[in-house]
Amino acid sequence: MIWAAWRQQRAQLLVMAVTLVVGGAVLAWLWTGSQGVIEQNGLGPCVADAHQAQCRKGVQDFQGRYYDLMKCAQVACLVLPALAGAFMGAPLVARELEQGTYVLAFTQSVGRTRWLLTKVAVSLLPMIVLVAALLVLLRGWIGSAGQLGVDGQGAFQWLNYDTSGFVSVAYAVFAVTLGVLVGLLVRRTVPAMALALGLFLVVRLVLAALRPVLVPFHRVTGGVGQQLAAGERVAGAGFLNSAGQPITVDSLKIRDCTETGTALEACYQKAGVAGQWAEYRVAGDFWPLQGLESALYLCLAAALLAAAVWWLRERVR
């Protein structure tokens, strides 16, 4: 049965192998190249802190060469799960239904559940290996440049967050199972691919917006003149009225508040502003958020797979 699944997905598995080899080689090449530049230009000390005076020239040079490449590599890894869902997940069953070949499989001795789970496993496990391997290389490269590269934007910058840790692997698992179910319901390969891609993007955007529900932001409030949450990734900030409620303030009214100390407060108070608030992420939020989000996607994937098994057993003629 594993041979049968492998043989039918040979082309896709081959594409995945090529992606792994080529992608891995490119990432390794970029990594050694950027490492060479760091050593050659004596940028070693700047990896931990790129804002030192002695780093300025070297950082500009390094970022000119590698910053955009890092972003591109991150985007490439980011779209990998979506492609997996569209090109691996959606055609898995849809093609069989479209071409009628499922009748051949279902009139042998293999049960429908085992048939589906084997097919899913044969595409999903290599997919996990591919995504994980490329992510490890990507993180290794970007981490080696530290503050010189895109990590200077912090771990919660969206591209950095999505392409580090293990959430991308969970995204890929989810995307493939979503594609399988969509293909099973739509029964046509190309529409299923498009729909799987669209649905995956919608779910990703919606669930990304719901991250504060999984791990709430840290919230601080303070007086008008204070610096809140310095050095953290700020998710939101604004003003408070005297009752402590967040308010929106007409920026024209506070445009001229430039004095310091009590005069500043008085100026703001005239505009109805009594204080300010900020919400932010701290470094300790990273792994809990990664863990919870991954668990959420894996649970969704399990539910989709269970639905696919049910549908295949009960509803496919």
Binding site: M1, Q8, T101, F106, T107, Q108, V110
Partner: protein, 279 residues
């Protein structure tokens, strides 16, 4: 003798429309059955139900005494009308697929079928002719060493020589292993030489079923005066000119003044088909 395949009040509807409507029949073990009926009579639906691909809407269908439940009975081989095969696989890989999908697999038998039909094992399935695809399908079905083989329109794409060879091969399987064979066709002439059992399906219902010898013995074709046609009992179908009537009658007696003889199988089936259309 036990039934290999039997139906009792079998109903299958698609979105409220009945493809099968109260089918009753039994196919004994070892029989070679022609499942005959016009296009759209429900032949393919009936075979797909027997293969466990579909579930009955009501009533029951039994394969070797068991109801198929979403899985093909291990003793059953099935070939669908559209010959589902993976086009990109070679013939040899298709057989390997059969081995992968089945615990019981007779590789030698499957290869033998294809050798006899001169289907090259290294050819990709999508390059084969319709007839060769049918042979691959039959080889795949026989590789399971089925005790009941269900073939949906097996001969439709075959040239006369291939038809003859395929039928001979299947009859060999029936004789050697006591396999039960059910073949559907909308053309009786394909099957009448080899079948000993008939299921005539018209409009989703079984109009006539049983051993062909018995069915022929139970019917008479009567030829007599048209004026007295109304007085004959048990008329299945009548056709008449001004003077002379030809009646297909269920019953062995021949009324006085009529010439009677056993119908041929074609005449019998045609009579029932005409009667159904006239209704």
């Amino acid at each position: 003798m036990d039934s290999a395949l039997s139906a009792h009040r079998l109903v299958k509807s698609y979105r409220g429309k009945r493809a099968l409507d109260g089918c009753e029949f039994a196919v004994p073990e070892g029989a070679v059955t022609a499942l005959v009926g016009p296009n759209g009579a429900g032949k393919s639906t009936l075979l797909a139900l027997a293969a466990g691909l579909l579930k009955p809407s009501s009533g029951e269908l039994r394969v070797f005494g068991e109801r198929p439940t979403g899985r093909t009975h291990p003793q059953v081989g099935y070939l669908a009308q559209n010959r589902p095969l993976y086009g990109r696989l070679t013939v040899a890989e298709t057989l390997r697929l059969g081995r992968a999908f089945n615990q019981r697999w007779a590789q030698r038998r499957a290869v033998q079928v294809l050798d006899q039909a001169e289907v090259p094992l290294d050819a990709r399935v999508h390059t084969l002719s319709e007839g060769a695809r049918t042979q691959v399908g039959i080889a795949l079905a026989l590789g399971r060493e089925p005790d009941l083989l269900l073939l949906d329109e097996p001969l439709s794409a075959l040239d006369p020589l291939a038809r003859d060879e395929t039928l001979r091969l299947l009859m060999g399987e029936v004789a050697d292993r006591g396999m039960t064979l059910v073949m559907s066709s909308h053309l009786l002439s394909d099957l009448h030489d080899v079948c000993d059992h008939l299921v005539l399906l018209i409009g989703g219902a079984v109009r006539l079923t049983g051993p062909i010898e018995d069915l022929l013995a139970e019917h008479r074709v009567l030829v007599g005066p048209a004026s007295r046609a109304a007085s004959v009992d048990g008329v299945v179908q009548a056709s008449s000119t001004e003077r002379q009537a030809t009646l297909l009658v269920r019953g062995e007696s021949v009324p006085e003044g009529w010439a009677g003889e056993q119908p041929t199988l074609e005449a019998l089936v045609l009579g029932y088909l005409r009667a159904a259309r006239a209704r």
